[in-house]
């Protein structure tokens, strides 16, 4: 069996996020080197703050300022930092309970090695040089020796949460790296297209021919193995005229996006129609593929000049 195709697929998008009153105050505070928490109805202080009380579900807005120093409650060593992590040298992911807070905040702890980190160790915020109102305004935590002072927890002080020029939204980029494989059946289809042949697969049960093939019949739930060459000619079963240009498509508008039933196939595939004014394309139009050198797919389909197919011959495929 020929090797199955594989290729990287990167999905990446800069999502925007409206912060609302509590997260907005928290991130604006970080920009101003102030760490804010929120007081719950049972008197605990949550850092980072949340909008709704986890116990009573009531809206909570009683903001307090906590200290930039705290205690590691637990941690894990990160041997090999990945892109966009807070530090590019090995560090500890640590949960830090800031002085005055009852919950711990997750962040990076800069330490020379895992032997230098322990639960209960004292740490302090290392502020980023440039702060914009984001969790990365805390560059990381760093070890902090405050034993001469005793290091007792500071009493959190009430804070209005109001700042000049508050941050109301952030951009949160997300990125996923996949290895995509179209699988056995589509690999065979794509390899045949390299010879400008359309090879589908027939379901052994319902006898329908799938192009492109999926390796299994979605109706009968059985594997499809019998290869069937279809086309190259086909019939336009239905279509639309696209008048808006898509950002990711290098196709001039207007163009005709059509469903094309290749001769011998039992469901239509999709393609662009050319070689005819867009407003003369019609259901039943007979078409054939037009290839450009080196392309994986036909560039478009053009009229064959045959008479239009009778509606009854393709209506089951619409």
């Amino acid at each position: 069996m020929p090797e199955v195709l594989k290729a990287p697929l990167v999905v990446e998008f800069p999502f925007t996020r409206s912060l609302g009153p509590v997260q907005g105050a928290f991130l604006t505070g970080l920009r101003e080197r102030v760490v804010l928490g929120v007081r719950t109805s049972d008197g605990r202080t949550l850092v980072p703050p949340v909008e709704y009380d986890p116990v009573t579900a009531e809206e909570i807005r009683d903001l307090v300022e906590v200290a930039p120093t705290g205690t590691v409650t637990t941690w894990a060593w990160n041997h090999a930092p990945r892109r966009d992590q807070p530090l590019d040298t090995p560090f500890a992911w640590a949960l830090v309970r800031l002085d005055g807070a009852d919950t711990a905040l997750l962040h990076a702890l800069d330490a020379p090695g895992p032997d230098a980190v322990h639960t209960g160790m004292r740490v302090r915020v290392r502020w980023a040089e440039e702060r914009v109102g984001a969790i990365t305004d805390i560059a990381c935590f760093e070890p902090y020796d405050d034993s001469p002072n005793g290091g007792g927890p500071a009493e959190p002080a009430h804070h209005t949460g109001e700042f000049e020029d508050p941050v109301t939204g952030i951009v949160a980029p997300a990125r996923l790296d996949y290895t995509y494989s179209p699988g056995r059946a589509q690999t065979a289809y794509i390899n045949a297209l390299a010879d400008r042949r359309n090879v589908g697969e027939r379901c052994p049960s319902c006898r329908k021919v799938y192009v492109p093939p999926r390796g299994a019949c979605p109706t009968c739930g059985v594997a499809t193995l019998e290869q069937v060459e279809v086309g190259p000619r086909g019939t336009v079963t239905t279509f639309c005229i696209v008048n808006i240009k898509a950002k990711n498509l290098d196709i001039e508008v207007p163009y005709v996006y059509a469903h094309i039933a290749l001769d011998g196939a039992d469901l239509a595939l999709h393609g662009r129609i050319g070689g005819i004014p867009y407003d003369q394309v019609r259901m039943g139009l007979r078409v054939e593929p037009v290839w450009t050198e080196g392309a994986r797919y036909p560039d478009h389909y053009r009229p064959t000049g045959e008479p239009d197919a009778d509606y009854d011959t393709y209506k089951e495929l619409v």
């Binding site: 290729a7 409206s18 509590v22 109301t168 008048n243 619409v318």
Partner: protein, 388 residues
């Protein structure tokens, strides 16, 4: 043992708009949930479980948002479930919640669906650059427009029908304070003159992109007896699925939609939907789907749905009002859109629909679909409880 009857005793939604930059996602869902609780005159402590739905995580880029929303929805220490069935999710979320009550697993359930499209990119999230595939498609409109053309060919409908639906739905939206689009200067001529985006679909015949949430409180017979306002009773509810593409798929009138409706009618004892059902709130993201679904749902014979629209039967004061709220064409926070349909059906039979109330609405169908016309969810609600 028969099922427990399910009642809707609280409904809440946000004012749907293009962008709610003043609230987080938690703040958005909280607003709808709080209004539903107020409507039911209940508190967070009265809720036994929470069932939440939204469209794909990658729309807003928050993975498993239900985890982060547990405290905003008072779900800490309670069961919380997430449902996902693409655009139909708002409907199927309500049905999962209803089934928990019907099965007597929980007495009172909060169900909620949302989307914050201003923080999302639905078009991009659905059109990933898959290797080895030919990029061809321009958004959901490009996907559905060929099926609209197929409907026009099959039914012989005149090409004016789509504009009539859009004109009607946008006027209905003017009576609904929660609707996103309030086009006070709308005219039929303006709809007809709007640009063709994906011929045969015009700009004004497409749905907007909205931020919004919708919530309902579902409860059992005992809960309904305590309700301060008339409940809506679930008389039937069903979901059906089929593959996106398969040989023999009928995109104009999918089999799964027909089967889903038939199941609901069987449960509710509906022999003739056109006669027995007073109004329909259906999922119409592109105007032509009104006549298409009228046929799929059995309100008209095949090829005849457009005649109801053209004759004004589906107008707010018509014999079978459709999309009294203004529909998806006027409000589309995708994940919430199905639940807004279900909630509107319930508002109507409760007599709580305000200016878009249909007189004597006793049985109303709520309908949602999603994906490539492959997921369907529907419920029929009534002003009277189901027969024991």
């Amino acid at each position: 043992m028969s099922k427990e009857p399910v009642a809707v005793v609280g409904i809440g939604q946000t004012k749907h708009v293009a962008a709610r930059r003043d609230v987080s996602i938690a703040g958005l869902v909280r607003e709808a949930a709080g209004r539903a609780l107020d409507d039911a005159e209940l508190t967070w402590a009265d809720i036994d479980a929470v069932v939440i739905g939204k469209a794909p995580d990658f729309f807003e880029g928050v993975m498993m948002p239900e985890l982060y929303l547990a405290d905003a929805l008072g779900a800490v220490g309670k069961p919380m479930l997430r449902v996902h069935t693409a655009g139909s999710v708002g409907g199927s979320t309500a049905l999962v919640a209803a089934n928990l009550v019907a099965a007597r697993v929980h007495g009172t359930v909060l169900t909620l669906a949302f989307e914050k499209q201003s923080e999302s990119n639905a078009m991009w999230g659905l059109s990933l650059p898959i290797p080895f595939q030919q990029p061809l498609l321009a958004g959901a409109g490009g996907f559905f427009a060929p099926h609209v053309r197929a409907y026009m060919r099959r039914s012989g409908a005149p090409d004016t029908v789509g504009s009539l639906v859009a004109y009607k739905d946008r006027r209905n939206a003017l009576k609904n304070p929660y609707a996103h689009l309030h086009e006070h200067d709308i005219t039929l001529e303006k709809v007809q003159a709007s640009p063709m985006l994906w011929d045969p679909i015009r700009y004004s015949e497409t749905c907007p992109s909205s931020d919004g949430a919708c919530a309902m409180i579902l409860t059992d017979r005992a809960g309904a007896a305590r309700a301060p306002r008339p409940p809506a009773w679930m008389l039937g509810g069903a979901m059906r699925s089929e593959p996106t593409l398969f040989a023999g798929k009928d995109f104009v009138s999918p089999q799964a939609g027909k089967d889903c409706a038939a199941d609901v009618y069987r449960q509710a004892g509906i022999a003739d939907p056109r006669r027995d059902i007073d109004a329909v709130e259906m999922y119409v993201p592109f105007s032509w789907y009104e006549p298409m679904w009228l046929e799929n749902l059995g309100f008209a014979a095949e090829g005849e749905g457009w005649k109801l629209t053209e004759a004004g039967v589906t107008e707010l004061d018509g014999d079978l009002p459709v999309n009294m709220s203004g529909g998806v064409l006027s409000t589309n926070p995708i994940g919430a859109s199905g639940m807004i349909r279900f909630a509107e059906a319930a508002l109507q039979v409760r007599g709580q629909a305000g200016e878009h109330q249909v007189d004597r609405a006793r049985k109303v169908l709520g309908h949602a679909y999603g994906g490539g016309s492959q997921f369907f969810s529907m419920w029929l609600v009534g002003s009277e409880p189901p027969d024991a």
